[in-house]
Symmetry: C2
Subunit: 310 residues, 2 copies
């Protein structure tokens, strides 16, 4: 309903270059350039200025983008209210999420929606949290499941988004099956302080979670190995290279020689998984139903996992 050129401008405001905007919106760079030029012409405003080899928003452009937040939210809210009031169904629904979230939460959601609403066209995109927000702005997706990072750049109360906590996904310890503690029901982080740890590379999304968990209990772990994928980390643990942290939502699959233990004591690390939507759209019946399904599924997986794995 809002002119797609304004959406493009908003995406540009986020990424700063025409090329990145094109990649994110799905247009070609030429199209983005033409859209922005047309937008300026039709509004009679100069929104962009040449800046080196790129372009930059003018003060007017920044003003317009900032003010458009409430406009978008207003429209989303109106649409959601109309959908609810009129008991209507929408035809397209885009979902985005990050790795395990996508696999464990979005896939079942998509499946459920597909059976509940056969004529709804559901699309799932796997993307990291930051990109999920971009995709929301670009209107490529309508709902994102992401891991909330306190240290992340996005602010809690961004005027463009609304977020709902789905669950706090606790981190478990995975250790080799032949480890002395493998028979235990649970462990504390203190007990594992001297173990060689396997973590993700520094600067990665989950590395900050790892360090935060240990600073909470006041010990400094020894990082022996680094892995990028959960699967790799699990394999390292299975090979006896060390121990690691694994979110409970992340499945062990058919991992051999690896045992999952719950963490007790004061250091109870967890990652917060939230659903994010464009502000105003939270009232939409489809979003509401999706949030319900997500939360139910999350709880089910969360409680069912221990029996599954042992």
């Amino acid at each position: 309903m809002i002119d797609p050129r304004l959406i493009t401008l908003r995406v540009f405001a986020r990424c700063g270059t025409v090329g990145a905007t094109a990649e994110l919106t799905g247009y070609s760079p030429s199209a983005v350039s033409a859209q922005l030029r047309e937008l300026q012409r039709m509004l009679g405003m100069q929104l962009l200025t040449k800046d080196g080899r790129g372009v930059r928003l003018t003060a007017t452009g920044r003003f317009l983008v900032a003010g458009s937040d409430t406009l978008i939210a207003e429209w989303e809210s109106l649409r959601a209210a109309a959908m609810e009031a009129g008991d209507q169904v929408q035809s397209r629904f885009g979902l985005g999420g990050f790795s395990t979230a996508a696999a464990q939460l979005l896939a079942p959601l998509a499946a459920t929606l597909r059976s509940t609403r056969p004529l709804l066209e559901v699309q799932v995109l796997e993307a990291n949290p930051a990109r999920c927000f971009d995709l929301l702005v670009a209107e490529r997706i309508d709902l994102a499941v992401i891991v909330a990072m306190q240290s992340d750049a996005y602010v809690e109360d961004d005027p463009r988004f609304e977020q709902t906590v789905l669950l706090d996904d606790p981190l478990d310890v995975i250790i080799p099956a032949d480890h002395p503690l493998a028979a235990r029901e649970s462990v504390t982080l203190d007990e594992l302080a001297s173990e060689p740890w396997i973590t993700e590379s520094a600067g990665s999304t989950y590395h900050s979670l790892f360090t935060a968990a240990f600073t909470a209990v006041g010990v400094t772990p020894r990082i022996a190995h680094e892995a990028v994928e959960w699967e790799t980390q699990i394999a390292f643990v299975g090979a006896g290279l060390g121990v690691g942290l694994l979110p409970r939502l992340a499945p062990l699959h058919h991992a051999e020689n690896v045992v999952r233990l719950r963490i007790t004591g004061k250091g109870k690390p967890a990652r917060r998984i939230v659903a994010a939507v464009r502000r105003g759209s939270i009232g939409s019946p489809l979003i509401q139903e999706s949030l319900g399904i997500l939360q139910a599924n999350a709880q089910r997986i969360l409680t069912a996992r221990p029996e599954d794995e042992r």
Copy 2:
């Protein structure tokens, strides 16, 4: 910026038929029909229902139209603020007004703007007040100068419009030059109670003004003749057929044998002339400048008229 299809829907909500919507928006009926169908498709909402030989808004449709008022206002407000903040100029500007208002106020305004801002494309449409509001909704014009009628259908605080009083245009009496009172500076309505009056046909825009003026002083005038145009009425008076009321803004031109007298006493009829714009757009620099020019011009004409005419 708002999808033109939504604008079309809003116009349809006002006039109720596809044909009238087409006439007002400037599209063909087929185009309106296609737009509304496309709108429903892209929103996944059923907005229209067949109703006899026409179509009618569904509850969802009415809800959407009602809610879109604030959306449009929000956009207008944002655009106006951006224009002002960035010191930008717009390229097109549509004006609408009713008969004398158009001739006496809009023409000078258009002329002034044309010289002040050479590259601004100004368009003036003459239309009656009700149609002016429709044209504002349809975004064919951006500013309308109309006569405020308390008895009219439009409400003072319509969420779609904002109105500014330009001036209270007093009604003068026009009498034949050979009338016994013609030499007077001013008269009261009492003194003319027994005269044969020339007015507009009942139900016309100004007829209610006429009756309101006389009910205020408690006398019932005798209506001898009816005219549609001011010019005709003036000619009738010049021919000695009776006396009439003429707004001060309406010029006597080269009328022969007609004298304009001011009205004194408790019955001082006047018509209120207001400028109307889409809600939110009042802050636009172009609108602000136009309102200033209009008010200045109105005052100038209002004070200069008596010397001009006598």
